[in-house]
């Protein structure tokens, strides 16, 4: 118990420290920008990992929720003049409700059928965003107003870096709390054996729906903030590829590991930028790395590395 709590705090402290000293090593705003994008992805992945890694349910449609959050902010603030905070909350509430409504029927599905259903939902959302151009600006997206709170406008990489950094630590904290709670154990039990969870009183359907909605809300909030930060949102941020990218980050970093999700998001956000030196070989290298990692480290990066350190495993 103490060891577990201890590990939790250590992890959070390390994460916080890395975030705090990182800017000293980043030469310009471009690198800050990449760090911020990694942070946004990490937030979504920490949430998605609760669903995929801990509760063992697949979603190939989470970019759709990210997209709804982003567009809710873009449209409500830009077109209807809502305060950004209110728009963000409205987006999150709408996504939570939507996720809640669709989750009940689709989470009865198993394995590949669930993959198909979530993929379908994500694609439908992205098609709607792409098509309703009167509202959303169509395939080329729309501009988004800066985020304003208490009369202060959040603008520029230097400001956003700290905003995203603090939020990420917060999201990781929430996730760690959840995992080490009765509800968290119920989620993991759903993954381990649904029927065994049921016979000791776990309403598996309820927890699946709850975690699906929760991870969707994480994605929505990240989407809203991302839209304000980037100043431009396009349906590409809600499409199938983005969903796949998110799942890949979770699995790559290590399923059922909150810090793994963070690591996966960071590595896979940096990778394409680093791979631009490969020019035409970029895709080949990216595809190759994905395959190789999953074939040789099916548990993902962090758990595999952690297993190499036997001392940590004991703790």
């Amino acid at each position: 118990m103490n060891a577990l709590l201890h590990g939790r705090l250590t992890g959070l402290l390390v994460l916080g420290a890395v975030i705090a000293i990182l800017p000293a090593f980043l030469p310009n705003n471009f690198y800050l920008d990449i760090a911020i994008l990694a942070g946004f992805n990490a937030m979504v992945c920490v949430g998605l990992n609760l669903l995929i890694g801990y509760a063992g349910q697949i979603s190939l449609g989470h970019a759709g929720f990210f997209g709804i959050g982003a567009y809710a902010s873009a449209v409500l603030v830009g077109t209807y003049g809502w305060p950004p905070v209110l728009a963000l909350l409205a987006g999150a509430a709408a996504v939570g409700l939507l996720a809640f409504l669709v989750a009940k029927p689709i989470l009865r599905l198993k394995g590949h059928y669930l993959a198909m259903a979530t993929l379908g939902i994500g694609i439908i959302v992205s098609i709607v965003l792409r098509t309703e151009s009167g509202l959303t600006g169509g395939p080329d997206g729309m501009m988004v107003e800066p985020f304003r709170i208490f009369g202060v406008e959040l603008y520029g990489e230097k400001v956003w870096y700290w905003v995203v950094g603090v939020l990420l630590v917060g999201v990781v904290w929430l996730s760690l709390n959840l995992i080490d709670s009765p509800m968290g154990r119920a989620l993991r039990a759903v993954h381990g054996s649904e029927v065994a969870a049921e016979v000791v009183g776990v309403d598996t359907a309820r927890f699946k729906v709850l975690v699906f909605a929760l991870s969707a809300v994480f994605a929505s909030v990240a989407g809203s903030l991302f839209a304000h930060y980037a100043g431009l949102i396009t349906p590409a941020k809600a499409d199938f590829f983005k969903s796949i990218e998110l799942v890949t980050m979770v699995v790559f970093g290590g399923m059922a590991s909150t810090f793994g999700a963070v690591v996966g998001a960071v590595v896979l956000t940096l990778l394409p930028q680093a791979l631009t030196v490969f020019q035409d070989y970029q895709q080949i290298v990216l595809g190759g790395i994905l395959m190789a990692t999953m074939v040789f480290m099916p548990k993902g990066l962090l758990p595999t590395l952690a297993a190499l350190l036997p001392a940590r495993r004991r703790a």
Binding site: N177, G184, A197, V202, D203
Partner: protein, 274 residues
Amino acid sequence: MKMLTGTDIAPDTSTQVRRVGRPILKVEHLSREFGGVLAIGDLSFTVAAGDIHSIIGPNGAGKTTLFNLVTGVYKPSGGRVLFDGADVSGMAPYKLAARGMSRTFQNLQIFFNMTALENVMVGRHLHLNTRLLPALFRFPSLVRKDREARDRAARLMADVGLSRYVDADAAAMPYGALKRLEIARALASEPKLLLLDEPAAGLNATESREIDEVIKTVAAGGITVILVEHDMKMVMGISHRITALNHGRKLAEGTPEEVATNPEVVAAYLGAAP
């Protein structure tokens, strides 16, 4: 599988004081078919509170199907199940758990993605705060109760002889220990009725005896036990009452000695026509 032999059918009746408790479980005309094949047909029996009630029968007799019907894993095609006087036919397992029914599985259903202790703590689910917000923000009350649950789970593990596995990953434990872990997990939910599906299968003689003791202790603690087991020595040794099944139907019911001497039961086990 052990064959029924002469020595096996010699229950130690002297220690068996017949207590007739109120009925805790009533199965009435229960049936279930799979694609036209009847797995359970018109089955009725009653389990008295406080008993160790065994269900025996050759492979394919429908014992596990019966467990699945009683615990809500499968929905019955016909008939009903009454638990504590209420009709619970087809009720979801988690609702039955809340009413005080839990079970173990013939094919292990362990949460291999957790530690042994956490497996048992999941068993405490019904007695803990499982709401989202307290979990996310780690309310002090939740942390305190969770700590209690942890201690209690550790005690339960000790009760079933698993003290040395408290911090182990479930995935790293031997088969025999996992069998007991399932019992500990089921007990953690504080059931009134516990269904054990072949708790001794795959265990050696020493381990079987240990399980035997565990079951007796459980029953002594006031928990009704329904037991499916092929180890006839164990069944005959600890059961108050036995229901014998064959081809999904009831073959015989009674005290161990009644059932053991029932020619139909003997025939079914020997594979001969009655």
